[in-house]
Amino acid sequence: MEYHLQTPLKIEDIEKLNAGDIVYISGEVLTARDEAHARILEMEEKGEKLPFSLEGAVIYHCGPLMQQTETGWKVISAGPTTSGRMSKMTPPLLKAHEVRAIIGKGGMKGVADSLKNRCIYLAYTGGCAALAAELIKEVKTVHWLDLGMPEAVWVLRVEKFGPLIVGIDAKGKDIFAEVRGKAEKVLERLQK
């Protein structure tokens, strides 16, 4: 099935989706990778308020390549980064905020339970940064540029961003875990 979603996302928007479905997102997405996740959790612990809202938000695991122009920031290249690095920091982040979708690549080991009834994981083709840049229509603002260009939180307006594959749905089905399970079985057979 193919779905077109508009942000901010409601729980009803995502609970109907199944692993393997194709999704396109329009609206706003926020980039966040290693350092931004660490800072979000640090502020959470200190009880400080974030400079952006994560309620109904779409987080994009991406460290974009941007260029500053006279009129603002321009996206040069902005594909997904490896989500696995954010696996440990994601469950506490989802506890504190109602993030409804995470876009990344490579899947997230051990996160399916935390996503259940809350959030979905969307796989975007790794390395397809020129394609992604075409679908990002505007850099709305940037937070935490002190973390460096790749690690800052970029607020992007996107149109029909995709194709995204539902890698982990809100019912706990995880394509990456299934593929890995099958590969391990093949290896066992080869070792015999």
Partner: protein, 280 residues
């Protein structure tokens, strides 16, 4: 007479070489990806391969880097014994790296490993990484391979026991399963066998430069077939092509050791070369 090289011309050529490597994939890599797309039966994997092919075309047409991870710069320099540049090649390469970062532009990726402070221009201690090789002849050959972190992070090195030659294949398979979709398959696998701890890793990296249509040995074919039988597929979403090629290089090693290094390369097997100097 040794050929003369102008420093400014050299820096310009290296910056242009970086632009080429970041924007355009070698023909053999594009061809291998096209073939993988044509034979793929899983609709999800096919959609991913189609996105990759579309991305390659867009990057080329728009003159932008194909991936936002423009990598750290790995250079392979073959300096002919009769070629005398007359200036500090390493300093010139560093200047070219900083120039290309500004011009193209490239994402500044080089950070201090402990403070994580970004240098802002892709240079730093030991970066760009330059592999030097002295060769006979009158030419200077420079190859650059920008290497992304997604695939580099999933690479592995193991000091096997000398009696474990039979488990090299297993080590490759375990490494590929552990990597899953994270290094952006379809992969190229460079396997360095023998030498020493660091030599094995260098061999593995050099092997990634080999054309993908180079004939493979029986052992390389056997490992490639086993890797693809795992079904990890494009981006780890399942499918028939997990790797495009497996290339191995060996070096003699200590009788008591068997170092094996596996350098994983994502689908964007970026590299480009330029030659300075006269005919051999």
């Amino acid at each position: 007479m040794s050929p003369k090289l102008n420093r400014e011309t050299f820096i310009r050529s290296i910056a242009d070489l970086l632009r080429k490597a970041e924007i355009e994939l070698p023909d053999d890599v594009v061809e291998a990806l096209r073939k993988a797309e044509a034979r793929e039966e899983s609709p999800v994997a096919k959609s991913q391969l189609q996105a990759i092919l579309k991305n390659i075309e867009l990057a080329k047409n728009h003159g932008v880097p194909m991936c936002q991870d423009t990598g750290i710069m790995i250079f392979f320099v073959e300096l002919g014994s009769e070629f005398h540049p007359g200036f500090d090649l390493e300093a010139a390469i560093r200047e070219a790296a900083a120039l290309a970062t500004r011009e193209i532009p490239l994402r500044p990726n080089a950070v201090d490993p402990l403070t994580r402070k970004n240098s802002g221009n892709n240079t730093g201690a030991g970066i760009p990484d330059i592999h030097w090789k002295l060769v006979p002849g009158k030419q200077l050959r420079v190859t650059v391979a920008p290497k992304g972190a997604g695939s580099e992070n999933m690479s592995a090195l193991r000091m096997l026991n000398p009696t474990e030659v039979g488990s090299i294949k297993n080590f490759v398979l375990e490494t590929v399963i552990n990597a899953g979709g994270m290094p952006c398959p379809p992969l190229t696998l460079g396997v360095g066998i023998g030498g020493s701890f660091d030599k094995a890793a260098r061999l593995a990296k050099e092997t990634l430069l080999e054309p993908l249509d180079n004939p493979m040995s029986d052992f390389e074919k056997e490992v490639l077939e086993a890797v693809n039988s795992l079904g990890i597929g494009c981006m780890g979403l399942g499918g028939s092509t997990t790797a495009l090629a497996v290339h191995m290089k060996t070096a003699h090693c200590h009788t008591a050791s068997l170092p094996v290094a596996i350098n994983i390369q994502c689908w964007a097997n970026r590299h480009a070369s330029v030659v300075f100097g006269g005919e051999e």
